[in-house]
C-alpha cells in the first residue's frame, strides 16, 4: 500500500512541479547552428527588456533542422518568432499555414536578415589534400562532407555556392550540373543536418573537407581548440541570409507582439550585432562589421535573389522531387 501511495504522491508532485509557465514567455524556434548565439542573446535581451521597465520574461529555445522547425510551427508549435536558415522555409509559414503575411520579409530592415554568413571549407590541419578552391573538391579521391540539401537548409546554401562557382567558371548550366554531380560523387555521408555533418567530420573524422556555414566552421575550431583544423575560403561563395520573422497568428493570440517585435529589433541594435559577430555571424551594421573585419575574410559573394531569382525559383528547380539534386543521384 505504502508503495502505491508513494508512487501516487510522486506522480502528483511531478505533475504540479512540472514546467510552470512564467508570467510571459517567448518561444524562439530556430535552426541548428544558432544555439550558442541565442542562449547568449536571450540573456542580453532580457536585461535590456527589464531596463526599459518591463517584467522579466522567460525565453524558450527550440533548435533543429530548418525545414523541420518550419514544419513544426505550421503544425502548431506556438512560436512567437522564427529565426531560420533561409527565407524559403519562412515563406512556407505564409503558404501552408497563413501564419504570417506574404510580405513578411519587408517588415524588418535588410530583408529581415539581421546577420549573414557564407559557406567556407573546413580542412584538416596542414591541409594535406591541398584544398584551395571548389575545383579541388571534385578531384578523384577527395572526400567531401556536406549534409543532405533535402533536409538541411545549410546544405542548400552549400549546393548553390558550388553551382554558382561552376556556372561562372565554366559558363553554362549543363557544365554546372556536371560539376556538382562530380562533387556529390565525392560525398561519402549525407547527414540530415548541418550539425550532424560537422560531427561526422570533426568527431568521427570522416572526409577531407567539410562544407560548412562560416559561423559553424569557426565554432568547430573554437570547440575543438583549433589544433586539428583550418578554414579555407574559396574564391567565390554565396551570401547566406538566415532571416527572422514574428509569427503574427501566434503573438496576437498570446498577446506577445510587443515583446516579440522588440526581441527581433534588438538583433539589429549595436549589442545584438556585436553578439552575432561574436558568434561568427557577419553583422549587417557596417560600423560593427568593421570592428570584426579581421575575423572575416573578404570574399566574392553571389546572392540568392540576384543570381538565383530568389528561393521561390531555386527551391523547386534544384531541391524539390525531380529537381537537379534528384537527377544527380538518379544518374549515378
Amino acid at each position: 500500500m505504502s508503495i502505491r501511495r508513494f508512487a501516487l504522491a510522486a506522480l502528483a508532485s511531478a505533475i504540479f512541479a512540472g514546467p510552470v509557465a512564467a508570467a510571459e514567455t517567448l518561444l524562439n524556434v530556430s535552426y541548428d547552428p544558432t544555439r550558442e548565439l541565442y542562449s547568449e542573446f536571450n540573456a542580453a535581451f532580457n536585461k535590456h527588456w527589464q531596463a526599459q521597465g518591463n517584467e522579466a520574461i522567460t525565453i524558450q529555445q527550440s533548435h533543429g533542422g530548418s525545414g523541420k522547425q518550419a514544419r513544426a510551427v505550421i503544425d502548431g508549435l506556438r512560436a512567437d518568432v522564427v529565426t531560420l536558415a533561409l527565407a524559403g522555409d519562412i515563406d512556407e509559414l505564409y503558404k501552408l499555414g497563413k501564419l504570417i503575411p506574404e510580405n513578411w520579409q519587408e517588415r524588418l530592415p535588410q530583408s529581415s536578415t539581421p546577420y549573414t554568413s557564407t559557406i567556407v571549407f573546413l580542412v584538416r590541419k596542414g591541409n594535406p589534400e591541398g584544398i584551395k578552391d571548389w575545383d579541388d573538391l571534385v578531384k578523384p579521391g577527395v572526400e567531401v562532407i556536406t549534409p543532405n540539401p533535402k533536409t538541411s537548409g545549410g546544405a542548400r546554401w552549400n549546393f548553390l555556392a558550388a553551382w554558382a562557382y561552376a556556372q561562372q567558371k565554366y559558363g553554362s548550366e549543363e557544365k554546372a550540373q556536371e560539376f556538382v554531380e562530380k562533387l556529390y560523387k565525392n560525398v561519402p555521408v549525407l547527414d540530415t543536418g548541418a550539425r550532424g555533418s560537422t560531427i561526422t567530420f570533426v568527431n568521427n573524422q570522416i572526409g577531407d573537407v567539410l562544407l560548412a556555414w562560416e559561423n559553424e566552421a569557426f565554432l568547430a575550431l573554437k570547440e575543438e581548440g583549433g589544433d586539428n583544423f583550418e578554414i579555407v575560403a574559396p574564391s567565390l561563395s554565396i551570401l547566406a541570409e538566415p532571416p527572422v520573422a514574428v509569427v503574427d497568428e501566434n503573438v496576437d493570440k498570446k498577446g506577445t507582439r510587443k515583446v516579440a517585435e522588440a526581441y527581433l529589433n534588438y538583433l539589429y541594435s549595436d549589442e545584438g550585432q556585436r553578439l552575432a559577430a561574436k558568434h561568427f555571424y557577419r553583422p549587417r551594421n557596417q560600423a560593427i562589421a568593421g570592428e570584426f573585419a579581421k575575423q572575416f575574410p573578404e570574399l566574392k559573394l553571389v546572392t540568392i535573389d540576384k543570381d538565383f531569382n530568389g528561393w521561390k525559383t531555386a527551391q523547386p528547380k534544384f531541391f524539390n522531387d525531380g529537381g537537379v539534386f534528384d537527377q544527380i543521384y538518379q544518374a549515378q
Binding site: G18, P19, H63, D75, L77, R78
Partner: protein, 290 residues
Amino acid sequence: MSSVTLSASASANAARRGNVLGRRLLIISAWLVFVLFLVLPLFIVLSEALKHGFGTFFGAIFEPDAISALKLTLLAVGISVPLNLVFGVAAAWCVSKYEFRGKSILVTLIDLPFSVSPVIAGLIYVLLFGAQGFFGPWLREHDIQIIFALPGIVLATVFVTVPFVARELIPLMQEQGTQEEEAARLLGANGWQMFWHVTLPNIKWGLIYGVVLCTARAMGEFGAVSVVSGHIRGYTNTLPLHVEILYNEYNHVAAFSVASLLLLLAVFILLLKQWSESRINRLKASAGEE
C-alpha cells in the same frame, strides 16, 4: 562443474559426452555475442561519459534542463505505463479465455505497433492533432495543445508500448487455462473476486515482467516522441531528446552522461525484470512438484 550436470541421468551420459565440445563452443559464442553486441556499446557510452571524471558527469546530470527532461520522461512513463497495463490485462483476458472469430486479426492488431515505424507513429498524431490536421482548427479554437506538449508525448509513448504487457500475458494465460477460475466461480465468487484472488496472483510475475519491459521502452522512445515534441529546451524535451540536443551542441561528455543515466535506469529495470522472472520460474517449479 560439468560432472555435476552429467550425473543427472546416467543413460544419457554417452549422448552428452559428444556434445561437450559443441556446448563449450555455444557458451563461448554466447559470450562473444554478449561482449561484442551488448557490452561494447555500453562501454563506449560509459567511457565517453566519464572521460573528464565524475564531476562533469554529475554536473551534466543535475543540470536544470536535464532534471526537467528527467521529470518529463518520468511523467510520460507514469501516465502511459498504467494505461497499457490495464489494456494488456483486458486484451490478454479476452484473447486467452475465449474463442471467437477474428481472434488472429485482433492479435495481429495488438502486435501492429511493434512494426509501425516510430516516424509513422509520430506522424499520425500530427495528422490528427496538428494545426493542419483533422482536429487542428477545433483544438486551436478551444486553445488546447496536444502535439508539441505533454499530451502528444504521452500519446506517442503509449502507441509504441501498446503491445508489451499484452504480449507477455497472452501466452502465460493461455497456458494456465481456465480451470481455476471456473472452480472459483462454482464456489460462488463473483467476477472481481475471481480476478483478484485467482487470476491476478497467477499472472502477477508475468505482469511485472511486461510492465518492466514497457517502462524501459517508454523511457527510451526517441523517434516517435521526436516528431511530436517541438524540442523546446527545458519544457518538451524528454531524456532521449535531451541526449540528442547535447550531442548536437558539441557537448559530448554531457550527452553521454545523460545517456548513461538512461542506460543505468535501463539496466536497473532489466535487473528488476530478471528478478521477477526468477520468481515466475520458482512458481512454475513449485507448481510442477505438486
